[in-house]
Amino acid sequence: MGKLDDILELIKEGARTSKEIAERLEISAEEVEGIIKILESLGYVEKIEIGESCGSCPLKKICLGSCIIFKGNIYQMKK
């Protein structure tokens, strides 16, 4: 139907990175990422907060590890 829809379809089919999608649609990864932002704003995907989720741990203070600073964003499809 259009690029926005194509991208949603590819995500549903299991394409996992913006680069993979870019290759399949023969557009740049940046454009794919731009469209994902629009899709987010339209409420079709949502960003998963990875860093902050560590705040939920009661032992955060004494835990030896730390939240990985995960550069790069993960978007999850909304129903």
Binding site: K3, I11, T17, S18, I48, C54, I62, L64, I74
Partner: protein, 681 residues
């Protein structure tokens, strides 16, 4: 003000007599930088009414005129799906601005113009486009015919580099001119498919006969109705009444059936296509789209086979770095603590107190503390890895492999989170609807070696091995990962694949890590390690010391610790571990570092004069040490993780999780030990 204005936000500034300039645009395009360029230091920061979204206002002085500039929250569209969007939208709807400066990022114009079109569709005419980050566009080989762009888009376009200030003066002049009505514009708006246009026409016709037509652009209202915008539906309902509204909604449903999609995505698609066509009229060069170095790297790094080897290779180098630099420091510290103990021992008259301080506290806490350099270096190395953008690639590889192993995609996010910490990972299983999926994901999750487990692995290999430390550490890490994957396989077999909740990842650009940030970061993280040494491990060490010294000192066979250890020894001997290991594993339940602390105390009590690690390395064969390190890494999730499983799945599943981990690690321990014996290790 009456209820008909309820979508609009009317700014108080309107009444102050100052002309208002609003800055709109996508997030991170340079709105605030331009805002600063326009207003200088004359600014005020507050909140938007009723919410904690920052509102920046400032005064722009141009010649002898003053304007009030307002920095709107950055948004990608003007649907009402987030508070930021709602603020920007309601502000723009309220005709509060005499001029709207739409700041677009010229290096990714397509998505930026999406918002521009939404602004135009509202019927706002006084718009100036600031074509910002023009320097970045230039670097990427993107160039524009600005005159043509103005003509096509229908409003003034000013190329800017907000960072250097280029174009800001021109922007000021244009703002001033437009605010005084000296500029005429004719913003272009998207045209949709015939069926949609027909329905827009129909709805607009109906709305034109209501008072709404005085306050809103009816085409905008019609489009928003088609997309089932809840705010607009509520507003229109007030004026049309339920009967007419139902009619419209029935039409919308028919259209949705025709397109087989909700209209918001259909309209967004067509808007996007419209922009695509527009761009071809004024973009001279779209920039190079050849395969970059980073694309090539990604092909290897995210390949399921090469990727996993690179992953192990990278972690090998990481451990190598940590041990090569850290071990001499660690040994130095360890010796220092031992000497310190010997130094102060003669000065403590009371025998019990001497035992407590020298053996308990210095022996236990000291042996753990001596690992501070290793921990710090590990964090430095991890920080650098994270900063370089590699972690996202590692996660992608893991996901691909998990998929091969049959793990349903929806369990991936908890798995990725687990590399940082298992607790948020387990909490995130909440998003899985199916009870079975959730429970199984929760059970497998603690097997993913979290960042704290990395520390424990570093620790244990540091103590038990004098050679090939990095290799051993990677080995333990790999076995851990393998078990997680194996469990994923089981998961895949037993979980009936329900509906997937797909996701997509944006790979960040590779970056050269900054040492400074890595060091600051690592210090922040390793401070926690010191704090932990001062609390959990201190109390642990005191407890261990007590249990090992009473009712009679160790060696007599009568101390509590020995008795306790001997109960479990027959079982742990199956994996070649004696009662000391059994005791240390029991204490390690509270915090895995206590495994080391226990050995520190036990050997301290034996009045040994040598540093702990020397003693440990003679006391155990490499195989035993490897098994102990492996089992320690795997045998139990940390207390917080158990707590999280309990909170999400109840007591029953928390118990099952603990038993599962214990069983699995025992089986692995026995297997590895016996295979090792068989191989003659």
């Amino acid at each position: 003000m009456n209820e008909c204005h309820d979508l609009k936000y009317i700014s108080k500034n309107k009444k102050q007599g100052l002309r208002v300039i609003a800055l709109a645009g996508n997030p991170n395009v340079g709105k605030t930088t331009i805002f600063n360029g326009l207003t200088g230091l004359r600014q005020h920061v507050g909140n938007w009414p009723g919410v904690t979204v920052e509102k920046k206002e400032g005064i722009l002085k141009y010649h002898d005129k003053e304007f009030l500039v307002i920095d709107l929250p950055g948004t990608y569209s003007l649907t009402a799906s987030s508070i930021d969007e709602l603020i920007a939208r309601n502000f723009l709807l309220g005709s509060n601005a005499d001029v709207v400066v739409d700041i677009v990022d010229s290096s990714s114009l397509m998505r930026n113009l999406f918002l521009t079109m939404e602004i135009f569709e509202m019927g706002i005419k006084n718009v100036i486009i600031a074509l910002n980050k023009i320097d970045i566009a230039k670097k990427r080989g993107i160039s524009f015919d600005v005159k043509k762009m103005e003509k096509v888009i229908g409003v003034p376009v000013i190329p800017t580099n907000a960072k250097s200030g280029e174009g800001v003066e021109e922007l000021k002049a244009m703002i001033s001119g437009m605010a005084e009505g000296k500029a005429t514009t004719n913003p272009i708006t998207p045209i949709y498919d015939e069926p949609i246009e027909q329905e827009i026409g129909h709805i607009s016709g109906v709305l034109s006969e209501t008072p709404l037509a005085q306050w809103y652009n009816v085409r905008w209202l019609a489009i928003k109705l088609l997309t089932r915008d809840q705010e607009v539906i509520k507003l229109v309902l007030n004026y049309l009444g339920p009967k007419k509204m139902d009619e419209i909604l029935i039409h919308i449903s028919e259209l949705e059936r025709y397109y087989k999609h909700p209209l918001d995505i259909v309209i967004a698609n067509q808007k996007y296509e419209f922009i695509d066509k527009l761009m071809h009229q004024f973009v001279i060069h779209f920039g190079e789209v050849h395969e970059t170095f980073s694309d090539c790297m990604d092909k290897i790094l995210t390949h399921p086979l090469y990727g996993i080897f690179t992953l192990l290779g990278v972690f090998y180098l990481l451990f190598k770095f940590v041990f090569t630099i850290g071990t001499p420091l660690q040994e130095f510290l360890d010796n220092t603590f031992v000497s310190f103990g010997q130094l102060i021992a003669p000065h403590i008259g009371n025998e019990t107190l001497r035992g407590l301080i020298v053996n308990g506290i210095i022996g236990g806490v000291g042996s753990v503390l001596s690992f501070f350099p290793l921990v710090f270096l590990l964090f430095v190395a991890m920080s650098i890895l994270e900063d370089s953008g590699y972690m996202a690639r590692a996660a992608t590889v893991m996901e691909k492999i998990m998929r091969i192993f049959g793990l349903p995609g929806k369990s991936f996010i908890p798995m990725v989170l687990a590399f940082g910490c298992n607790v948020p990972a387990i909490m995130s299983t909440r998003t899985l609807e199916d009870e079975r999926d959730r429970i199984l994901t929760m059970l497998v999750n603690p097997l993913v070696p979290c960042s704290a487990r990395m520390v424990v692995i570093t620790f244990l290999t540091g103590v038990f091995f004098s050679k090939h430390k990095a290799l051993v550490a990677v080995g333990i890490y790999a076995i851990s990962l393998f078990l997680a994957l194996l469990s994923a396989l089981i998961l895949g077999k037993f979980v009936i694949k329900g509906e997937e909740s797909p996701f997509v990842m944006e790979l960040p650009e590779y970056a050269i890590p900054s040492w400074k940030i890595a060091l600051i970061h690592s210090w922040e993280r390793s401070k926690e390690f010191l704090r932990k040494a001062g609390t959990v491990i201190l109390f642990g060490s005191i407890a261990i010391w007590y249990l090992s010294s009473y009712p009679q000192a160790m060696g007599s066979g009568l101390s509590y610790a020995e008795k306790l250890g001997k109960v479990f020894e027959p079982f742990t001997m199956l994996m070649g571990l004696d009662w000391k290991a059994a005791v240390s594993l029991i204490f390690g339940i509270i915090a895995k570092e206590n495994v080391i602390a226990t050995y520190g105390v036990i050997y301290g009590i034996g009045e040994n004069e040598e540093a702990l690690i020397m003693l440990m390395r003679v006391a155990m064969t490499s195989l035993q040490a490897f098994v102990l390190a492996l089992v320690t890494t795997l045998y139990i999730p940390c207390i917080a993780t158990i707590g999280a499983i309990r909170a999400e799945g109840g007591n029953k599943w928390a118990t099952v999780a603990v038993i599962y981990n214990l069983l699995l690690s025992s089986i692995i321990g026995v297997l590895v030990y016996n295979i090792g014996l068989f191989l003659g290790l």
